[in-house]
Symmetry: C2
Subunit: 246 residues, 2 copies
């Protein structure tokens, strides 16, 4: 089953950009009259009939609408410090998208080796993984932000939520010493809402100031079990724990 | 913390092969008298003092012994059909090792696109991920075997278990139609033992004959939630579900 992304749709017609049109009409040789599946990237899939097979700008008429196609019953933000090796972070983006994530925020920690992150490749990977895993909603790849700013500004404001109590905020941090941590499953099992933010640190962990700030802002310190995981593995494992809980 | 693998140890001395010795004595410039950490690949870590810093064959004296170092409280075999793209299967080997797996079996299904699989790279990746994630036991990478042979011969015989009831065998298969499946967490939560085998199919899924054979041999059909996952993602997710349950 192949799926195309429409950059524009009014619910009656879907328009594909040059890349998607080329894939649909040149590579896979679809012709006007063929049925194709189109997603709007916001959560809806349209079963369509191709009305213009122009490989630089195809158009298709909507036959049937599937809102919430391939969706999941939670809202998950994973804020994760990009790894030194870009491939590893991109792998996380792909896997989290397949499993089910709503927003990925590349956060730059005080101990991050990578201080600059360009999102363009991650955006393409998220689109590709969304189509491949038969989902209609492409996770948002946010602009990079410092860990401290993320803790202070996000996530509630940008999610448009007003009720602070509805959101569960978790920070996976070693907290060597006396901070008491629960497992991520315990935290998820104790929570009755559906809006979760998980903050995953860089290879060198969060700084004590970042960790302190997170606790002040209502983040619950969690551990991800006894294994020592790489940053990207921790991020995928956190997304998996949420996915398996709902 | 750097960790070396000893190809030979008698509990008093550890011997490193040329590759590990070169890494220890040439790359990281350890000299006789330095303390190093050595694993035997079978579950024990030794804190050692380097007694011979020969970069082609180093030797170290055991100071302290840590049995079960970095271990996990379950025994997990993941049998998974190698993906068309080798990188994806190798990524699964790395991630499953980090999370905690005991045996990885490359299985060849009737619908597998890849009918031949060489294990040498996977063996190296498993060693590297074991050291990186601070574990002392390197997961076994079994020789490739057909799905049908694996179902019929394995896993009990090769694990040396006699009591059939002790082992939980799961197959993740679509089973379009009337086969009733439970989620992998339900299956794990209902199980009181600690010996689990999960069988993950190829990109084209198991053949109906393979699935039937698995059910005849006591495999429980499970689903991995509603997302459509790639083979390697399904395999890592299954390992994660086991890890999070124990």
């Amino acid at each position: 089953m192949d799926v195309y992304f429409a950059y524009e749709t009014d619910g009656r017609f879907c328009r594909l950009d040059a890349e998607e049109s080329g894939h649909c009409c040149r590579v896979l040789r679809h012709r006007s009259g063929d049925e194709i599946n189109v997603i709007d990237g916001l959560g809806t899939m349209y079963r369509c009939r191709l009305t213009d097979d122009n490989p630089k700008g195809a158009e298709a008429e909507v036959l049937e609408t599937f809102p919430g196609w391939g969706g999941h019953p939670y809202r998950l933000t994973v804020a994760c410090c990009p790894t030194k090796n870009n491939d590893r972070f991109e792998w996380f983006v792909e896997k989290a998208t397949e499993i089910g994530v709503d927003r990925i925020v590349p956060t730059i920690g005080e101990r991050s080796e990578r201080k600059v992150y360009k999102t363009d490749r991650a955006v393409r990977i998220a689109l590709s993984a969304t189509k491949q895993s038969l989902k209609a909603r492409i996770p948002e790849i946010a602009d990079p932000i410092s860990v401290k700013d993320f803790i202070q500004i996000s996530p509630l404001a940008s999610l448009g939520r007003n009720d602070m109590k509805e959101s569960l905020k978790l920070i996976a941090y070693c907290f060597e010493g006396d901070t008491k941590r629960i497992s991520i499953q315990e935290a998820l099992n104790d929570y009755e809402g559906d809006d979760i933010t998980v903050l995953i640190g860089p290879e060198g962990d969060f700084s004590p100031e970042e960790a302190r700030l997170a606790l002040e802002h209502g983040y619950i310190p969690v551990h991800l079990g006894t294994s020592r995981l790489r940053t990207e593995t921790a991020a995928v494992l956190a997304a998996t724990a949420v996915y398996l809980t709902f």
